[in-house]
Symmetry: D3
Subunit: 339 residues, 6 copies
Amino acid sequence: MKVVTFGEIMLRLKTPEHLRILQARDFEASYGGAEANVAVSLAMLEDPVAFVTRVPDNPVGRAALNEVRHYGVDTSYILKGGSRLGIYYFEKGSNIRPTNVVYDREYSAFSMATATEFHWEKYLEAGDIFYFSGVTPAVSPEIQKAVLEALEYCRNHGIFVVCDLNYRAKMWSSQKAQAVMKECMRYVDLCIANDEDFEATLGIHAFDGNMSTGICQIDTYKQGMEEILRQYPNCKSVASVLRNMHTVEDGDWLGIYLKDGEFYESPIHTVHSLEAVGAGDAFAGGLLHGLLRDFDPQKTIDFAITASVMKLMIQYDFNIVTEEDILRVMKSSDTNLQR
Amino acid sequence: MKVVTFGEIMLRLKTPEHLRILQARDFEASYGGAEANVAVSLAMLEDPVAFVTRVPDNPVGRAALNEVRHYGVDTSYILKGGSRLGIYYFEKGSNIRPTNVVYDREYSAFSMATATEFHWEKYLEAGDIFYFSGVTPAVSPEIQKAVLEALEYCRNHGIFVVCDLNYRAKMWSSQKAQAVMKECMRYVDLCIANDEDFEATLGIHAFDGNMSTGICQIDTYKQGMEEILRQYPNCKSVASVLRNMHTVEDGDWLGIYLKDGEFYESPIHTVHSLEAVGAGDAFAGGLLHGLLRDFDPQKTIDFAITASVMKLMIQYDFNIVTEEDILRVMKSSDTNLQR
Amino acid sequence: MKVVTFGEIMLRLKTPEHLRILQARDFEASYGGAEANVAVSLAMLEDPVAFVTRVPDNPVGRAALNEVRHYGVDTSYILKGGSRLGIYYFEKGSNIRPTNVVYDREYSAFSMATATEFHWEKYLEAGDIFYFSGVTPAVSPEIQKAVLEALEYCRNHGIFVVCDLNYRAKMWSSQKAQAVMKECMRYVDLCIANDEDFEATLGIHAFDGNMSTGICQIDTYKQGMEEILRQYPNCKSVASVLRNMHTVEDGDWLGIYLKDGEFYESPIHTVHSLEAVGAGDAFAGGLLHGLLRDFDPQKTIDFAITASVMKLMIQYDFNIVTEEDILRVMKSSDTNLQR
Amino acid sequence: MKVVTFGEIMLRLKTPEHLRILQARDFEASYGGAEANVAVSLAMLEDPVAFVTRVPDNPVGRAALNEVRHYGVDTSYILKGGSRLGIYYFEKGSNIRPTNVVYDREYSAFSMATATEFHWEKYLEAGDIFYFSGVTPAVSPEIQKAVLEALEYCRNHGIFVVCDLNYRAKMWSSQKAQAVMKECMRYVDLCIANDEDFEATLGIHAFDGNMSTGICQIDTYKQGMEEILRQYPNCKSVASVLRNMHTVEDGDWLGIYLKDGEFYESPIHTVHSLEAVGAGDAFAGGLLHGLLRDFDPQKTIDFAITASVMKLMIQYDFNIVTEEDILRVMKSSDTNLQR
Amino acid sequence: MKVVTFGEIMLRLKTPEHLRILQARDFEASYGGAEANVAVSLAMLEDPVAFVTRVPDNPVGRAALNEVRHYGVDTSYILKGGSRLGIYYFEKGSNIRPTNVVYDREYSAFSMATATEFHWEKYLEAGDIFYFSGVTPAVSPEIQKAVLEALEYCRNHGIFVVCDLNYRAKMWSSQKAQAVMKECMRYVDLCIANDEDFEATLGIHAFDGNMSTGICQIDTYKQGMEEILRQYPNCKSVASVLRNMHTVEDGDWLGIYLKDGEFYESPIHTVHSLEAVGAGDAFAGGLLHGLLRDFDPQKTIDFAITASVMKLMIQYDFNIVTEEDILRVMKSSDTNLQR
Amino acid sequence: MKVVTFGEIMLRLKTPEHLRILQARDFEASYGGAEANVAVSLAMLEDPVAFVTRVPDNPVGRAALNEVRHYGVDTSYILKGGSRLGIYYFEKGSNIRPTNVVYDREYSAFSMATATEFHWEKYLEAGDIFYFSGVTPAVSPEIQKAVLEALEYCRNHGIFVVCDLNYRAKMWSSQKAQAVMKECMRYVDLCIANDEDFEATLGIHAFDGNMSTGICQIDTYKQGMEEILRQYPNCKSVASVLRNMHTVEDGDWLGIYLKDGEFYESPIHTVHSLEAVGAGDAFAGGLLHGLLRDFDPQKTIDFAITASVMKLMIQYDFNIVTEEDILRVMKSSDTNLQR
């Protein structure tokens, strides 16, 4: 069972420790993006996976490709072209100080691609699952077109489609997002919807915008999840992460999985994070792994949420944890040094 | 409205992470001091501000000057002379392990200055507010003289004087401090008094010395604040920060502002700090900003305490936050990543 | 009063911050091992101490020796020989993510030593106390023999023997450990037993294996401690650390000291650790210091547990704290910056 | 005498040491660009100077502004606008391995500015000298327009114009460059022309393209310099740097200054460089300083070339040397440690 | 045309800059070994290549595998097993101070492998060229057996065999080396022999041991090369690198290629190296690339020696240069910054 | 045979790489001083040696002591007292850019010591050789007194005295130096005199001040050496280092040793240095080692100059080389990687 993910990978320039960009004299350079992150999650879990994107044919683009290949992702379908790799500057917050991201992703190699450059019949030939997040169509109209062509191919060839709605207010308005995502949702088999995604991308109410009481809103969340299935009958299951965030680092995390009419809830994890980026992608990766390995729904959601909260303790965008690492945390509360 | 601050700036040599000085092979080099910190706070808030000091005319002294100018402080009045820049070694504590400062500031360019080197009529000509902390007169008798000359100039020219009592037991005894600070207080319009400052510099009782119950002692604090106004009728307002510190990093923070006979209290912020240095200076900076922008007293104290607790999440001595940053934290509890 | 400790010192290769080994491009290099750590603890506390081990006569071995000498430990008895210094790779966990140690210590200079290389009559001639932990005999049969020869010498010359049972499941099975440690225990005057040590090395039940409820099991712990004294009448006292660990960093720590039929309990310290390695060795160091300085039993256990929890805030293996540092934390709850 | 420089400032992302971009996990972040570099050179030499540019109103843009202000450049005319700061990735070569620059400067805040945003009557009001290099008009047609408007203002107000032709093949073709630079040259009082600049920007032959024999071609160089004065009678002097480069670091450097019909040649400096970036800008800065301080032509060219070769030993783009530093190297060959 | 290389990959622990191991507090961690280096060279040159080895199934072993995969080498045949990855400590010399390597490679996963673990019919099925160096059989008798089995397979299936004799005095005596390498040579089609390799591995005289006059000994070198072909008629060509080394960094480099009875000599490169490790492997990589791309012999040796000297300017073991990089240096002497 | 050295140890704050102090955000922290450096040289050569100094009883002072003990120097005579450790800021030059040292050593613990604090009868009781350099008496009048008391003790007890004249223009004038050093010289058995030392400390002409032609002035040098022996009949031998320095890093080095009326000259070493600090102290260390081990005069000077030039390739102040390292370089010109 092979997964194909599609999206943009960017250079991430993070200030050391918690320095503000205004104070930085060095940046840690790494590479990430929702769909690349999911691909690496799966490779770490030893699931076959390919990542499709477009990077410039220069050292920065090649470095992004290498970094994904490093962890075992199939990079043979990655296009070379365009002139720059998108960038995001990243400044890690702390306690009451919010984390700050400055995007410099316009005019990137991926965003300047045309839909015709992507040959889905080739990329998806051996694929069983296609994954993308709402960030991908937000990149450009041509990329929207490419997504829809991929989705069409999936429908015609029985490829299972997973979509994380993943709304980014800095990339597009809710209005534009809805115009596109509602169309995409007609092809989706499994949908991941978190927090503002419901409203912003599908116009469905589930969450009131207060991140400190996400779990308290579990009822409206569940209603929203059911509403997705009602509106998109092709979509058979929905998964969500609910959080009560107390500070930038402290929060309670709960996964919910609605499948075949039944809700499965993970235990609540109360954690203090080291770096919040990519937790959603780690959740998607865990979910996909559960699908690929035929975990039952309860184990699937437990595994996915554990993968997600473990990412909070891993630096950079990728979730560098093995299946064994996740299972050990799932079953044990003894977190001390194992000598 | 322009502010002029007066005091010493030192080289701060901090061990990386939480290493002890005994373990260090590198020091992070930055520059700071109460009045320089306040000046940078104001520059970050886009208030015109000049910093007056004396640094040696060598690369270390010039680096200190440049670092302050970097953030937009007017450095044109800084004197060059003397032979060394004061230093403080800084070892950040953690949890039950106290933070440790080793001063090496004796014989510094600033402490060896003579009062006649400072030309207040020039520095204060365009000034509306003069700021100094109790650290400045603690440096040397000549600097005490310079402070008093500045204060005299302020009284004669209607310049508003703000003083943070800022007692440092490592610099002078309470007895010496009182001899000087009581004299200075006769010129002060707005006084900042925290914790031991009341007793050590003015002989007024307000706080019993237990840092874990500062807020619990709010009543004696308020009495102390009122007592200041009673003893120094020229002084029209007092501001204080009260804290219940549970560990080196964990504490509750409350700001109180006594103005025109009325007490204004900020909300209590419960925070886990990244680096505690300069929080008091950030409070002073926020307070001055409120004065300069004519915030009402409640907004002033709310702004000042928020500026102060945000400093706890900023590395090095300077409070690198904008007005927008502070206002966002004041009005929002959603501290997650804003993408 | 001079202490002699005997054991292995290894190169520790730690990833920066919390990086996984899989992500590391640099390792912090330091040196440590239970008995070296105890020796450095004592040297920091200004107690005369020698460390006996064997290191290869190459730059890596010499660096290990130098690092111990750096802090004032007598290294003149350290043997040079063998071909490699043992290594342990160290990846610091966070919150729910466990700390991970990868041992690469087989075939080390120490483990390949023969018992006849060690000349106890020389090393222990000026010694008053001999210290080793259960890690030492776990290294190899020859080292077991060397330990027993040292113990025999101690018995014959009235040298006080302290042993931290210190079970390491990655080094030997409980069965093998018991075969050796039960023999060793016949020479021990003061025994340190924590958590699984009771069962794994002596076959005595005290702890159920759940690290989050160690303190809750205080009764069985005490029974285990008494059982040790009953089974090994030569042993006059036992000390233990009990913990309720909530996350990798958060826990409650309690020291218990059974001496002359009486239990002495320290206060419980609730702390958030920076680095957990070596806390047990710091406890042993504190205990030995109490013995050397003739502290009363209550002060001894209070001092030892404070030394132990302070180590949690110190990076690398060695407990770089002075007696003054420990006494200040013992008597004060004011942990703020002392300027 | 005040100088105003106009051009783009970029974020420079340099790999550590000599790592290739493909190997980098960190980038050193600094800021530079020809005209910013010249401005900082002058500020270090204590000449009044303002830098005009446009940076985005985000932390990256502000950091660029601060870095220039740090060294004393007047930044009050810098515009805020646009969405991104241009970037250049920088990989330092070694010996036979060429240094490599990857530009990512398209769509930058500066390149997207319109000519009408720049108010020359304000910026140049107190200016005596206007400086720009050929990089500035290469940025965009609007910036070309802005340059020409500035030049027109200079002609009308007697402001002395200095231009470093500074051809960049990665930014525009020789054909495009000539169309613009020939027009600009009609306003220039002092022209700096090096190597390929003659041919590429003015169509004048002077250099055959072989960097290892630049000094050997001194005759054609001189002819080219005279030809410039002949073709542009408004231009009264030309300065050039000639080099025989043997490796990336090793070369001989010679400055020539043609003024009032006479050639002035500096001594040849044979040097091994630490970092080649900005040597040309340092030359321009030295030349301007000579003009401002009324050095005679021989001292001017000696000073300029010494400033230029000293830049080769200074890291990052800015030439952090004082007048005293330069004069000392000019007069002394004793380069040892001065204790 | 696909290449398969076989050998050990180790963790390389290099001190920062030129620090001695005795001074180091950090090690740069990278991975390398002759045959891994050749594989990465080829992958960088876009030649299909697989690397066969055995690494422990722990994070250190996985990191080694990932690092090779990073650059595009096929790692699917790498075995997992054994308990440790070999290590070499690396201390870079300077000028008259020799570079120092401390091996800690005994008992490594690779050296403990049995010949039967390697399935050559699978690894070499799609292979056209098999590459190994003399380091591989030096590892252990079982690995010698594995090499011979691979060679037997090659002979039977017409796979072209390339061997770099690569003698390591720290690994085996000349006597042992000859016993094995003379046997191996009976299968080799192209042999690389440098300096002491002739005598130490084949008993053929070519070089007198003085590294500062290698090129001066060109005649005996050539005789040695011819002697190899005479003694091993299966071997059709020999390539060698001759050097006059003046300091640790400064030297002249010459490549000679004897093919079909004719000698081809490259130009002499006089270079100052940044890091000498892996230059021989880069030479082998360049030579193999020439074979794969059917370069004529003169271009082959020119390309190989240029690849080799470029490696001297690249940090870590791998030669991170593209074909374009090499061709540019081959044809150009202009090594300045290309903007 | 035991050596005792006496002098100041300082904290050295070096900017990373070649950064100027004005650019630095970090300092590498190490410890050094002429006599500490000599002591460490000897300890590395396995000669018994004690270092006498005074450091403040704070973490900075203790770190200095530890660093010297690290390498095996006996630190048991080091006094604790005073308030600060002297500092020197260090900025490494390059090629034509001079290295720059900014001293901040006034008021140091050592300089504030009184002569009576030093108990020479105790420190020198087991000593055979006493070593100091001219830097020591330059520190303060009290230290001059202490030096003279030590010298008196040596004369009375037959302890051999070695003095490196070591003139520092930044510490005292030639006039003051002569007043003191001429007095000291009456006790010296072996004198080291370099370059300006002859004239500045003894008023003897030997060198014209041009560092690029030191070796060319060999005749006047030799006359100066002989003149020393003539004027100070107690002094039986003189050693000097002569240099032709071409750049900050490039130079020729020659050692001369005048003993029993005969001159012994080392070979000339032409080297490119990595860090010049401490080469003179390394020379002294080598010379002392030759004395201690009874090398013949030719071997002594060869060993000393080789030790000295090897220090040029070692970072920080201490010469971290073994006798074996030095002998290998002395006898071999093959400086390549030894694998």
